[in-house]
């Protein structure tokens, strides 16, 4: 069976890749485009390790058929930082030790980025609900929540 050509924008670049009709966007991003920041945890939309922004909406890449990406604009964890210049959120994860094994971290960073884009001053409860679709088996979540709050505070200060 012939493969399908998909054209889209990923992390600011126009890209083309080939995929099977039933291939997941997660596998296409990792295997065809080499963006291995996103991880496959569950493959069924429960863990959030493959979180991406597609047309500015938070999604699990494992729940998207790769051909659906045609014409979309996608951001993965690789697209958050500006070169070596990390975002405040990424800096706060490092400073606050909001990760241990790191498998879930790319998904948390993307999901928290989505939260802060539309809510610059989230409460702890709002952060916990917004990140409910991301599982972490190491940290117990507390340091992640604190890192997001700290990043939000820094970003508010910077834009004040």
């Amino acid at each position: 069976m012939s493969r399908i050509q998909v054209s889209c924008t990923v992390n600011g670049d126009s890209v083309d890749f080939l995929c099977d009709a039933d291939g997941s966007l997660l596998n296409a991003l990792r295997d065809e485009l080499g963006l291995t920041g996103i991880k496959e945890g569950c493959g069924t939309g429960d863990c959030g390790a493959c979180s991406i922004l597609m047309d500015d909406e938070l999604n699990c890449a494992c729940l998207i058929f790769a051909p659906e990406a045609t014409g979309t604009t996608i951001t993965t964890v690789e697209g958050l930082a500006d070169g070596d210049h990390l975002t405040p959120l990424q800096e706060c994860f490092l400073e606050g030790a909001a990760l241990q094994c790191g498998i879930c971290t790319p998904g948390f960073l993307v999901a928290a980025t989505a939260l802060l884009q539309h809510n610059p001053n989230p409460t702890e409860t709002e952060i916990r609900y917004a990140l409910a679709g991301n599982l972490c088996r190491c940290t117990g979540y507390d340091k992640i929540v604190r890192a997001v709050r700290e990043a939000a505070a820094q970003m508010r200060e910077a834009s004040a």
């Binding site: 099977d20 997941s24 939309g45 959030g48 597609m54 999604n59 699990c60 729940l63 051909p67 679709g133």
Partner: protein, 290 residues
């Protein structure tokens, strides 16, 4: 497997005439089902490129919600939230923020899970499903007539849901949906209960709808509970009668989420609580809602 993304309802209906071809909206159920071993269809038809399937429109009398519209568009629609807070709360309970970018009323309905959160909330609002038929036309049925059992619907081969129609509520009408889950997020309802009431100027219930999820093979409309609420002022006696009627209407399974006895009891508790919230919301909408 082949993938199609038609741009019109007619084109989609034509594709569906092919054997072993299925439609999908957000795929949040389809993909996990395929991964769990369910046979792949020969072709999948993505409905999200059809404008009509992804839209929220309000006319003088009716809301029309495209069957594949992501639920984020419902929770983000202040006017819809104001008129149907219970429906939107139920839609917003489907999965995580990630899943909300993909989940839809049409998908939640046609996946036909007995625990689908939005289905009881649609039923209490007398929602209708507009179905594209294999001969190129449409037919309209009550939402409660779509599911017939876990994973099974009354849709014939070649048919798919195009949109959900919901009449705008009369004055002094409120709806509410509550579900019980062990976790606060990312869980499947042990029991779901939706209640809608309409009050007269004195606060007496003139119309009521009660529907339960996850307590039977399909959504259950509980007319006996509705009868218990109508004519009351949502006093303790009426609420207790409605709760008892809701429990009596249950036909649940025993599974890891809950026992038969537990589900049956909780259905009454949630019905009572949802009726109180619906009544408060109706009372707050003292004037005309439109």
């Amino acid at each position: 497997m082949k993938y199609f993304a038609p741009s019109t309802v007619e084109e989609a209906a034509g594709l569906l005439a092919q054997p072993n071809t299925k439609v999908f909206a957000g795929a949040t159920d389809v993909i996990p089902q395929i991964r769990a071993g369910r046979p792949e269809p020969d072709a999948l038809v993505d409905l999200k490129k059809i404008d009509r399937l992804v839209s929220v429109q309000r006319t003088d009398a009716t809301w029309v919600i495209g069957a594949a519209t992501p639920t984020t568009r419902l929770t983000g629609n202040a006017e819809l939230v104001a008129e149907f807070p219970g429906l939107v709360e139920a839609a917003g309970l489907i999965g995580s923020d990630q899943v909300q970018s993909r989940s839809s009323l049409g998908g939640n309905l046609c996946n036909a899970s007995p625990a689908a959160d939005s289905v009881p909330a649609m039923v209490i609002n007398s929602a209708r499903a507009v179905i594209a038929t294999a001969n190129g036309g449409t037919r309209t049925v009550a939402v409660e007539d779509v599911p017939v059992g876990p994973g099974r619907t009354t849709l014939a081969p070649g048919e798919f849901v195009v949109e959900i129609e919901i009449d705008r509520p009369p004055a002094r009408t409120g709806d509410a949906y509550l579900r019980l889950t062990p976790r606060t997020e990312m869980d499947i309802a042990v029991v779901g209960a939706g209640v809608r009431v309409t009050l007269d100027e004195s606060g007496t219930v003139t119309d009521a709808r009660v529907a339960l999820g996850a307590v039977a093979p399909t959504v259950v409309r509980v007319t006996a509970a509705e009868a218990a609420l109508i004519g009351s002022k949502l006093d303790d006696v009426a609420l207790a009668a409605a709760a008892a009627a809701a429990s009596a209407a249950c036909n649940p399974i025993d599974d890891k989420r809950g026992t038969i006895a537990y589900r049956t009891h909780v259905a009454g508790v949630l019905t009572r609580r949802a009726a109180v919230i619906a009544g408060q919301r109706a009372a707050e909408k003292n004037g005309a809602s439109r």
